[in-house]
């Protein structure tokens, strides 16, 4: 019975990742939930995948907010952009 219902930790790990990208089928969802109920090692995986996702999002937005960073637009490029905006671009009415 367990063998029929069960999936390996590797399969469960894959499904935890897949469910970040699409809805699992009923069968996949059932097997994953069953595995997570009986496997003490894998039970935290779904939370970890969601946490990783949150962390990456925070990380990717962070450079824009990091005012202490010494990464700045080069002055020449800044001048070029100002000139471009002044000369060529008009707000759409």
């Amino acid at each position: 019975m367990l063998k029929a219902l069960g999936i390996s930790c590797k399969d469960a790990y894959g499904l935890c990742s897949v469910q970040m990208d699409r809805k699992l089928t009923t069968g996949e969802s059932f097997r994953l939930r069953f595995h997570l109920k009986i496997c003490g090692i894998c039970q935290y995986l779904p939370k970890q995948f969601r946490g990783l996702s949150e962390l990456v999002r925070a990380c990717e937005l962070d450079p824009a907010n990091d005012e202490s960073s010494d990464v700045q637009l080069p002055p020449k490029v800044r001048e070029r952009i100002v000139e471009h905006l002044r000369d060529g671009v008009q707000p759409k009415s």
Binding site: I41, Q48, F49, V56, A58, L61, D62, P63, A64, V77
Partner: protein
């Protein structure tokens, strides 16, 4: 132009190319200036600008004309990175929770830790280019898998495998750094 530096930092962190990032800032500010009448002040100006920049970054990847390839077999020189952590029965050979306790914490607690974000950034930068682009388009920009695959230049069929591989590499990298709660 007071927001140009933050836009530049954001663009550079995504495209990893100074010239492309500079052009993106110009495109973003031009687009913002053209649409300034649509800015209603419900969000801050910087949030609005970053929102425009996100679309510019996605366009940049789309226009890069990466040739779609099935890279599921070789996204970064490895055949199956999962084989090192699972035995032949698919059982863990390692403790998958070791060093990753923080990932199960509240998102706002995680995001407030600058050191942690630095590690994540370092780990993201270690991903092969296509994996990083695919993963960030999917996870950060929220594109559908097929759209992210197309922009990253991988086939839709291999995208699921590559996304799992990206997540696995990131987890492994974070575990190597030994994040502590």
């Amino acid at each position: 132009m007071q927001h140009a530096d933050s836009l530049y930092r954001y663009a550079l962190s995504r495209v990893k190319d100074h010239h492309a990032a500079e052009d993106l800032v110009q495109d973003c500010l031009s687009a913002a200036w053209q649409r300034i009448n649509t800015f209603d002040g419900r969000s801050s100006l910087s949030t609005w600008l970053i929102g425009i920049m996100k679309f510019k970054v996605i366009d940049h990847f789309r226009k890069s004309k990466r040739t779609p390839t099935d890279q599921s077999a070789d996204p970064g020189g490895e055949q199956d990175p999962l084989s090192s952590v699972f035995d032949s029965y698919g059982t863990w050979k390692i403790d998958p929770n070791h060093g990753l306790e923080m990932l199960a914490s509240a998102p706002d607690q995680i995001a407030s830790q600058n050191e942690l974000l630095d590690w994540v950034r370092a780990c993201l930068n270690k991903l092969p280019d296509r994996l990083r682009v695919l993963f960030t388009l999917r996870e950060v920009d929220g594109l559908a898998v097929s759209s992210a695959a197309s922009a990253a230049g991988v086939t839709a069929g291999s995208a699921a495998v590559l996304l799992t591989r990206s997540r696995h590499r990131l987890r492994s990298c974070l575990q190597e750094h030994g994040i502590q709660p």
